[in-house]
């Protein structure tokens, strides 16, 4: 949950706030969770909706994302070289449009099947597939690793 939240919001602090809001909403709505469906997918769908609402609210307030420029700082405690490398990945991810970033996160980081990821986002599988490809190509480009 934290991994998806931090990836989605591009900052550890926002990610944990997002986790908190998601858990609170999940506890309130736990009667709506259907037995036999995946709890994690249900939570991720909720988390995504909360994040979208939060972004709209922030845009209305005219706030900017603190983490947007700096990218993610997770994993920055390793060796110098790998810290730079990890920082690059974070910055590249942060520059993706939201719809591409969430597709990349769900499939390439969280390991969801296309169909499951598309259900969480609420889009057709084909749309998910093309967002994933565009996001992936943009990342490879940003990281200077396009084949």
């Amino acid at each position: 949950m934290r991994r998806f939240a931090i990836g989605l919001s591009r900052s550890a602090a926002d990610g944990d706030d997002l986790c908190q809001a998601t858990i609170e909403r999940a506890l309130v709505n736990r009667g709506k969770w259907q037995e036999g469906t995946r709890l994690d997918s249900w939570m991720y769908t909720m988390m995504r909706n909360i994040w979208i609402d939060e972004q709209r609210a922030r845009n209305r307030r005219g706030q900017t994302f603190v983490a947007e420029e700096g990218g993610l700082s997770v994993g920055a405690e390793g060796a110098q070289e790998s810290a730079v490398e990890l920082g690059n990945v974070g910055r590249a991810m942060a520059r993706l449009p939201d719809e591409q970033r969430e597709a990349v996160l769900l499939v390439m980081v969280e390991g969801y099947a296309y169909k499951e990821a598309a259900e969480i986002i609420g889009c057709p599988v084909g749309t998910l597939n093309s967002r994933l490809v565009r996001g992936r190509d943009a990342l490879l480009e940003l990281l200077g690793e396009a084949p």
């Binding site: 949950m1 934290r2 991994r3 931090i6 990836g7 550890a12 990610g15 944990d16 986790c19 908190q20 858990i23 609170e24 999940a26 506890l27 709505n29 736990r30 009667g31 709506k32 969770w33 259907q34 037995e35 995946r38 709890l39 994690d40 939570m43 993610l72 997770v74 994993g75 405690e77 490398e85 990890l86 990945v89 974070g90 991810m93 990349v104 499939v107 390439m108 980081v109 099947a113 296309y114 084909g126 597939n129 093309s130 994933l132 490809v133 992936r136 190509d137 990342l139 490879l140 990281l143 690793e145 396009a146 084949p147």
Partner: protein, 234 residues
Amino acid sequence: MSVTSEELAAYADGELDPARREEVRAQVEADPTLAAQVAAHAALKQKLAAHFAPILEAPVPDRLTELLRTRQPAPVAEFAAAREKRDARRALSSVRWGWVAGPALAASLALAVFLPRGGEVPEGYAGEQLASALEQQLVSAQPAGADTRILLSFRNDDGQFCRAFAGEAQSGIACRDREGWRLHTTGAGASAQQSDYRMAGADAGSILAQAQELAAGPALTAEEEAAAREQGWR
């Protein structure tokens, strides 16, 4: 038929249907450019995994775990409602699982850290260490590293206090009678489930479903539970 980048990504992610997968495989093997793209996809996946891995290894902030721990008494209302409906529910054979989601969430956050432990358990009754946890631990204030977590407390139809618990070695329900904590239902502990994280909490779920069947009323509130402990669970 040429391969689109969407198809190539789906191929790299193992998402193509078997027939198309073979066709794409043949083309990838014949075309170094395609092969390089597949390799780049896999390399990026690894890079992303490495980037996000520290989040999973980092300790979960207290405010998130607290959220789950302090919400434990919350099932009360639904618990009572579930009790009223349980006959109808049996007929429909559809258990409402929603109220179980709290503990399942806790498990999915890897909140509970149980330590392995052995020990003789007398026939039908909780052993010393389990009994001590059943006597002492309150749902609302449990030590973070407790071997056994109390999931909830309730009274059965005989008016006995019962407690659903989950531990490393054993999970189940125990009810207090004159002899001690009589084990009602027991299942495998958390250690049996570690191989599949998606199973985490599933056992606690079935234990709680059984608690629902045994209970004569709502789960005890934090105050009622503390009072019951004062009275020695009699």
